[in-house]
């Protein structure tokens, strides 16, 4: 069989288990084509495809898929529904596959996570679609999962060490796909670092630690990634301020961030990024927030 290439878009799900799949495909000896870090061109592609009201992160995801269209044998598009009833996802995660099928001609490699299927089922499904022997799938799965976990543990350890530092610290509460996106979060991170602020990321903590803590702020919250991110707030009692970062018009954040903001007592900054926000606006807001922290 000819060697196949799997195109993995650097968008939303990439930031959750991208590492796992990278190692998994490596082990299975399958070539992977990643789309590059988000560029303005990718954003523009997404914008021209997606309905106007779709959130910026989704538009970027579609832009990445569009970049890969025609450049690989398969587009890698999962569908993530829920891990259990208390850990559901945004409805956009439910529509990844069917949307991609509407927009793109390249065949799609798809797996599904819901009450009955977990990541292992996903790996088995993807593996069998690429006709990899079951034994190798299981082996690759174990190794990839261990490696991905190790990376997460290292990140978590670093974060916990940073938390002990004496400098001014800020916690960014956001979805991983926003903080680490080259276009959405990077300007903000650069500005904070230039001002000598230590930045902590809500998604670098371990989900096992943050998820149960979320109930302290919201009892009924049933979105996994929102739980993971706001759970970092009780974990980081020592930070001087909190920045809420979301993309316009994120459905979950519009409710969750509003609720959390009403409950916390720390200085906070609520940033909503749209492709039209200009750099100057951001600069003014971040600078005044930093000034506020310096005084506290």
């Amino acid at each position: 069989m000819d060697k196949v290439t799997v195109g993995i878009p650097r968008g939303i799900p990439y930031y959750y288990d991208g590492e796992f799949w990278k190692f998994f495909f490596q082990k299975c000896n399958i070539e992977v084509l990643n789309s590059p870090s988000t560029t303005q061109e990718i954003v523009d592609r997404g914008i021209s495809l997606a309905p106007d009201e779709m959130c910026l992160s989704m538009k970027i995801y579609l832009g990445h898929l569009d970049y890969l269209e025609g450049k690989c044998d398969y587009l890698f598009v999962p569908r993530i529904d829920r891990f259990d009833d208390a850990n559901q996802t945004c409805t956009n995660f439910l529509s990844f596959y069917d949307l991609a099928k509407t927009y793109f001609k390249t065949p799609i490699l798809n797996y599904n996570i819901d009450c009955h299927n977990d990541l292992l089922d996903g790996a088995l499904e993807i593996g069998s679609l690429l006709s990899i022997p079951r034994v190798s799938i299981l082996k690759a799965y174990d190794e990839a999962l261990e490696k991905a976990k190790e990376i997460k543990r290292v990140k978590n350890k670093k974060q916990l060490e940073l938390l002990k530092e004496k400098q001014k610290k800020v916690l960014i509460v956001s979805h991983a796909y926003n903080i680490h996106d080259a276009l959405i979060g990077s300007d903000l991170l650069k500005m904070l670092k230039e001002n000598g602020i230590i930045v902590l990321y809500s998604d670098y903590f371990l989900s096992e630690d943050t998820n149960p803590l979320a109930s302290k702020l919201s009892k009924k919250l049933y979105w996994k990634y929102s739980r993971d991110s706001i759970g970092a707030i009780p974990l980081c009692e020592d930070v001087n301020g909190i920045i809420f970062l979301s993309t316009f018009p994120c459905g979950l954040d519009s409710l969750v961030h509003e609720l959390v903001i009403r409950k916390i007592k720390k200085p906070y900054l609520n940033l909503v990024i749209d492709n039209l926000s200009s750099f100057t606006g951001l600069e003014t807001r971040v600078e005044s927030f930093v000034d506020l922290l310096e005084q506290s």
């Binding site: 021209s48 309905p51 106007d52 749209d274 039209l276 926000s277 200009s278 750099f279």
Partner: protein, 309 residues
């Protein structure tokens, strides 16, 4: 006596009037600013427009945002919305056209035509970004006349990127770019380009724009915008010299096709029209009612939500 028909398009920014004959030839036209007073604007139109010797008026049509009010006052035989009017006129004068791009004062739309029928259309999402009003306000910001926009845009080699999805953000972006020293022509060209991109991404999303394409509405007079339409669509884009009158022409044509015809006399000069706005306090809806009078006679009351009037 030969028959002729009057079409009036009362838009948010400008008011247009035309007189056509039975074969849809344009006999007379006028174009003026609405200035927020549609009744006065229409009176002005009726004063200016001339019905040629030997013709008699057999129908009046109104379109545009004030179509209902004016239609009621003039006793028009056709009152239709501007999308239909534009399409009808374009299909009459340019039967080959398949796509109509239109950017007007406060809204923008795309109309697609197959087999001499409107097959699909779309309009901007109720926001003024990227329309004529947006360009005028940005021109004011830059201290220019919007009429000079087009020619200045043509001189630019490097249009600046300007985010034009939202008026407020575009304005701050524009001021920022101007302050860090971009040349004016590049900013103006950037604005024109962003109007086109915004329009194509927003209004024409998911539509295949087939040639021949015609560009209409007030903004079609802007050479800069036209240039970027051609550049980005990679197609020839026509502009009708009467493009700004298309709405009025269309409604005049519809008026001529209407079986209800009667002889009209244009002597509204001395008739006083009055509209009184008041808030109704009968229930918590607090509807803003509009009472419309001709002389002292109450013609209609609008704006009631509960159906009381």
């Amino acid at each position: 006596m030969k028959e002729c028909y009057l079409g009036i398009d009362i838009g948010s920014i400008s008011t247009k009037g035309v007189v056509i004959d039975k074969e849809y030839h344009l006999l007379d036209s006028c174009y003026l600013e609405t200035k927020g007073n549609p009744i006065e604007a229409v009176k002005q139109v009726l004063r200016q427009i001339k019905i040629p010797e030997g013709y008699h008026l057999y129908g009046i049509g109104t379109t545009g945002s004030a179509r209902k009010l004016i239609g009621l006052l003039l006793n028009a035989n056709v009152i239709k919305n501007e999308i239909t009017a534009h399409a009808v006129a374009t299909m009459t004068y340019h039967p080959e056209v398949k796509t109509i791009l239109e950017i007007g004062g406060q809204d923008s739309k795309v109309i697609q035509i197959r087999n001499h029928m409107i097959s699909d259309y779309a309009m901007n999402t109720l926001c003024a970004a990227g329309t004529g009003a947006f360009l005028s306000s940005q021109a004011k910001r830059l201290g220019m006349d919007v009429k000079d926009f087009g020619s200045l845009a043509l001189t630019s080699q490097n249009p600046t990127n300007i985010a034009a999805r939202c008026t407020v953000f575009a304005e701050s972006d524009l001021v920022h770019k101007a302050q860090i020293g971009y040349p004016k022509e590049d900013i103006v060209a950037g604005l024109c380009k962003s109007v086109v991109l915004n329009y194509l991404n927003n209004v024409c999303k998911g539509k295949k724009l087939e040639a021949p394409i015609i560009f209409q509405g007030g903004v079609s007079k802007n050479e800069g915008v036209l240039k970027y339409f051609k550049e980005i669509l990679k197609e020839e884009v026509m502009v009708d010299p009467n493009g700004h009158l298309m709405g009025a022409l269309g409604i005049a044509i519809l008026s001529s096709k209407n079986p209800r015809k009667e002889e009209y006399h244009l002597d509204f000069e001395n008739v006083s029209f009055k509209t009184i706005g008041k808030e109704c306090h009968d229930c918590s809806n607090r509807c803003e009612l509009l009472q419309i009078y001709r002389e002292e006679e109450l013609l209609d009351i609008w704006g009631s939500k509960c159906g009381k009037y």
